[in-house]
C-alpha cells in the first residue's frame, strides 16, 4: 500500500504523518504542493496539519487551490482514500471533499492539549481498528477547529453514520462535539485532533496508531 503525504509552505507534522503511515506498513512518498501529480499507484493521500500559506484569507483556502489539490481531487474522484488532519481537514472542507467548515474556536483561544475522543463510528477503514464508543487520547493543537455545519447537513451526517470521532469535552464549540467526519463517497476522512502525534508510547501515547493500522487493514481488504 502506498501513501503520499502532501507538504504546503507552512505545513507541520508532515514528517510525523509520513512516519505514522510507515509504521503501519505503508510505503510513503512525500509530495510538494507545486507537484501536479501524485506518485503512480498512490492508495491514500495524507494532508497534514500546520498553517498552510500562513492561514491567509481563510485556513486552508489557498492550499485548496494549489497545483497538487487538483490531483488530490482527481484521486478522491477515482475512489482513492484521503485523510486530512487539522489544517488538512480545513483544506479538504475548502476543496469541498468534506462538508461543513472549520471556524475560529468558540473560546477564541488556541487549544493545545491532549483530549479524550470517543470513536462514534467504526463503519469506515479510518476507525475500524477501534471499538465502537472506545475512548482514545489524542493531542489537539488548533485555533480554528470549531466544526460548523447547517442543521440539514448535520442530520445527514448523523443519519449516514459519518461522524467518526467526537470530543468527550468539547474544546472549541464544534457542532455536536464533532472531531472527525467522513465523506459520503468516496472515502475521505477529516479530523481536527492529531493521531500522528499519538503514535509512540515514549511521546505520551499511541492511541492514534489504530487509525493508520485500520486504514492499512481496510484498504488491504478493499
Amino acid at each position: 500500500m502506498k501513501a503520499a503525504v502532501v507538504t504546503f509552505p507552512g505545513s507541520n507534522c508532515d514528517r510525523d504523518l509520513a512516519l505514522a503511515f510507515e509504521r503501519a506498513g505503508f510505503e510513503v512518498a512525500r509530495v510538494w504542493h507545486k507537484d501536479s501529480a501524485l506518485p503512480a499507484g498512490t492508495d491514500v493521500v495524507g494532508v497534514p496539519g500546520g498553517f498552510s500559506f500562513g492561514d491567509y484569507l481563510r485556513c486552508g483556502a489557498i492550499a485548496a487551490q494549489s497545483p497538487i489539490a487538483a490531483a488530490v481531487q482527481a484521486h478522491a474522484a477515482r475512489g482513492g482514500y484521503v485523510l486530512g488532519i487539522c489544517n488538512g481537514f480545513q483544506v479538504l472542507t475548502e476543496m469541498r471533499l468534506l462538508p461543513g467548515a472549520l471556524m475560529r474556536n468558540a473560546g477564541l483561544k488556541f487549544a493545545c492539549k491532549t483530549v479524550e475522543l470517543k470513536v462514534a463510528s467504526t463503519a469506515s477503514a479510518f476507525t475500524q481498528a477501534y471499538g465502537k464508543n472506545q475512548s482514545i487520547r489524542v493531542p489537539i493543537a488548533h485555533h480554528d477547529g470549531n466544526y460548523t455545519i447547517d442543521a440539514d447537513g448535520l442530520k445527514q451526517l448523523q443519519d449516514e453514520d459519518r461522524i467518526a470521532l467526537t470530543y468527550v469535552q468539547n474544546p472549541n464549540g464544534s457542532a455536536a462535539n464533532i472531531a472527525g467526519v467522513l465523506s459520503q463517497t468516496p472515502p475521505v476522512g477529516g479530523m481536527v485532533p492529531h493521531p500522528e502525534r499519538a503514535n509512540d508510547p515514549i511521546l505520551g501515547g499511541n492511541d492514534g496508531a489504530g487509525l493508520f493500522a485500520g486504514l492499512m487493514g481496510g484498504m488491504a481488504l478493499a
Binding site: 484569507l57 483556502a61 467548515a101 471556524m103 474556536n105 470549531n146 460548523t148 455545519i149
Partner: protein, 79 residues
C-alpha cells in the same frame, strides 16, 4: 477598474470574534451595542474595462476563492 468585495459570515452563523468585540465595547462603556458582525473587505484592481464583465468575473472569484459560501456571503461593488 476597481472592485470591492465585502465578505461576511452568513446570518445564523455565530461570529465569535464579533461577539468578543461587542463584549469589549461594552467594557469600554459603549452601552447599547446589541450586535457586532466582523467581516473582511477585499479590493481588487482589474484590467477589465466593462463593468458588467468585471462584476461577473469577481463573482466567480468569490465562489472559487474569496468567500467560503458554506459559511460566508459576499457582496461585489464595481467602483
Amino acid at each position: 477598474m476597481k472592485a470591492r468585495v465585502t465578505v461576511m459570515l452568513k446570518a445564523g452563523v455565530l461570529d465569535v470574534q464579533g461577539e468578543a468585540v461587542r463584549h469589549a465595547l461594552g467594557t469600554l462603556g459603549f452601552a447599547g451595542v446589541t450586535g457586532v458582525r466582523q467581516g473582511k473587505v477585499i479590493e481588487l484592481d482589474l484590467a477589465e474595462t466593462d463593468a458588467s464583465a468585471a462584476e461577473d468575473a469577481v463573482k466567480t472569484m468569490c465562489e472559487k476563492l474569496l468567500a467560503n459560501t458554506v459559511i460566508e456571503s459576499y457582496r461585489v461593488e464595481i467602483l
